[in-house]
Amino acid sequence: MPTKTQQDIDRYARDLNPEVYTSVYGGTKATTEKRHDVLFHDYPDPDLLRRTAGEVKQHTLENLDTYLPKAEAALKANGAQVHFAADGDAANRIILEIMKANGAKSMVKSKSMVSEETGLGHFLEDNGMKCLETDLGEFIIQIDHDHPSHIVKPIAHKNRRDIAKSFEREGLGDYNDDPATITRRAREFLRGKYFEADVGLTGANFVSAESGRLAIVTNEGNARFCMAATPIHIGIVGIEKLIPHDRDLALFTSLIGRSGTGQHLTVYTQFINGPRRFGQPDGPEQMHVVFVDNKRTEVLASNCREILRCIRCGACLNVCPVYRQASGHAYRSVYPGPVGAVLSPLLAGTRFPELADLPKASSLCGACNEVCPVNIPIPDLLLRLRDKAKTEHAGRAMKGTPPMGMYGLLASQPHAWRAAMTMGAAMNLTPNAVMNIIPPAAAWNSCRQLPKWRGGKFRHWMKERGKN
């Protein structure tokens, strides 16, 4: 039964199309189970691995001022050009400039969350450039003018019937919802585009400070195509993606596939450390790496800095019971789910109050922390942000939450507390109709029944036996 609610995510979940719910719930549940099977089958102590990876990442973040220049120097030595963007707009402008300087008109783009964050695709289109998404999910998002709802599976909210309809509408063949046919049609359409494009853009999952090597993992091989057929490769990378050494890549590539999709390894794993060298038969002639800050240094200075360890595997989304009920779009931001509930309000900067309700949308069950390959204490960070929202009077966050001032007073005064415990028995006599005038009680009673009040009984029992 639908219940009145004041929080946006709760409303979104309440009104969610049942088909979307089924897609999201089914997909996330299956992936969570696969993750568990693979990880525990492959390693005797996956928790140790998670904790180690978390420590490596934390160490890198704390020494970013050393590792970033190191990566820059290594990349330059490899012949790549390195750019730094303070925010999303700066990143977009740098990329546009690179295109203009080379007379480029079109881009094929591999999946990248940071480009999602900067709104790169739309920015380029607005500036007269063509930009085509080549990841199948992102491609569908693009033709549907939609937004990703998951960081690994952008179309977690769609089923194959939705996709077949989109393909039919776009003239990519008659209605056919066989997944193999859908994939083949997309491949046929996209293949020619790689050759026509002037620029190929990718993200990077990890960047080794030691060698400047970009590690890119995909399951479709499209990132590889974006680099193989175009003369210019641009890598857009959040500064938190650094790791100290090449050898660390073994740990992280092992964890990302197993955690995110339950694969031992993603189908394609590429390491790129520079443009085509003399004597090499193919590959881009120019390579640019754009390191994006976009509030990351602010996050690093905050008490939620651990969130920057995130390697965007999506495991926390998959296991999260709130994400499963609400889907990714409920989070109104680029990063949904538990990681998004922390990261999105932080990346919003001065617009923090607009997203300050996201950390409230969690029962704090801790499942996200338990699966996170870099052991981010997400519940702790959600709690810190709740405190921040309250302290900074972000009204949106507090909606529907009972005020706690009275509780604080009562629970720190034992006499008043004991009296309330005994008097609470009156609740048993209070008709629900009266109770429901108090909003939190109404929300509770709409779907649950309170047990009988028995305040004072235990204390009485303790006292009586003390007398014997």
Binding site: I9, A361, G366, K390, P414, R448
Partner: protein
């Protein structure tokens, strides 16, 4: 969320924090906790000034109000004796949550001192006192809901193993056991639709396993799940692990029946 600093209890003397939920609704759980501990030869003190652990305000984001309550807890539970709590989430509030909200407070060390000797009941019995087997019988099929705040601690496995050692007790496992029941304190009223659906999903899985009792080690979960069960008129009695242990003792005449 384990309590990494905990010191192994030497003297068998503890202070019981009954929790506000047992104080208000579930007095028999608190009674059973005392009986079980006393059976193990533990002397149980009950500071009468105790109220609540501070968790409701902590989770609601009002850390100022919560710290006021935690300071009261620190005052009330002074000394060196372990503080034992029959609730995973309240125990975690003492040994983990309180440390978070006192990070930058001048009295952090006092909060730490309390955190280091705070235990969830089953963790105390199994990992603290070293109890591995339980006498008596409980000839029933039970489903054990591993409350979220027992995650990563030794309490979940501790409770399961101890219950498995009881004669006649049959554990009925169920699907998606890692998922939360949907309570989450203030979350249950601020996000009532999601909270209730999480609870219903959990109950669907549990009911499919056909248990006679639903058992947990946190009355928060059982307040919520029980609330849904009672509202919909399904028959599913709930018990805290302490009550199961107590009933087993009664069956073996190790405790007089109530």
């Amino acid at each position: 969320m384990t309590n990494p600093q905990r010191t192994v209890p030497a003297p068998k003397k503890v202070q019981l924090m009954a929790t506000c939920l047992c104080d208000a609704f579930f007095d028999d759980v608190a009674v059973a906790t005392v009986q079980v501990l006393e059976y193990l030869g533990v002397e149980v003190g009950f500071p009468a000034d105790q109220t609540c652990c501070g968790q409701p305000a902590f989770n609601a984001g009002d850390w100022k109000a919560s710290r006021k309550v935690v300071r009261h807890v620190v005052d009330t539970f002074k000394g060196e004796d372990p503080v034992v709590v029959p609730s995973g989430s309240c125990a975690a509030m003492l040994f983990h949550g309180a440390l978070l909200e006192f990070e930058n407070e001048p009295d952090l060390s006092e909060v730490k001192q309390l955190a280091n000797r705070s235990w969830e009941l089953l963790d105390y019995i199994v990992n603290g006192l070293g109890v591995r087997e339980w006498p008596g019988s409980f000839p029933h099929r039970v489903s054990f809901h591993r409350s979220c705040h027992l995650r990563g601690t030794c309490s979940g496995p501790a409770a399961m193993n101890l219950m498995k050692s009881i004669d006649g007790l049959e554990l009925a496992t169920f699907g998606e056991a890692e998922q939360c029941c949907g309570f989450g304190g203030a979350f249950s009223v601020s996000h009532p639709n999601i909270s209730a659906r999480m609870g219903e999903l959990k109950l669907e899985h549990i009911i499919a396993a056909n248990p006679e009792y639903l058992v947990a080690a946190d009355m928060g979960c059982l307040l919520h799940l029980g609330g849904i069960v009672d509202k919909s008129g399904i028959e599913l009695p709930r018990l805290h692990v302490a009550q199961v242990l107590r009933d087993a003792l009664v069956s073996a005449n190790l405790l007089p029946a109530a």
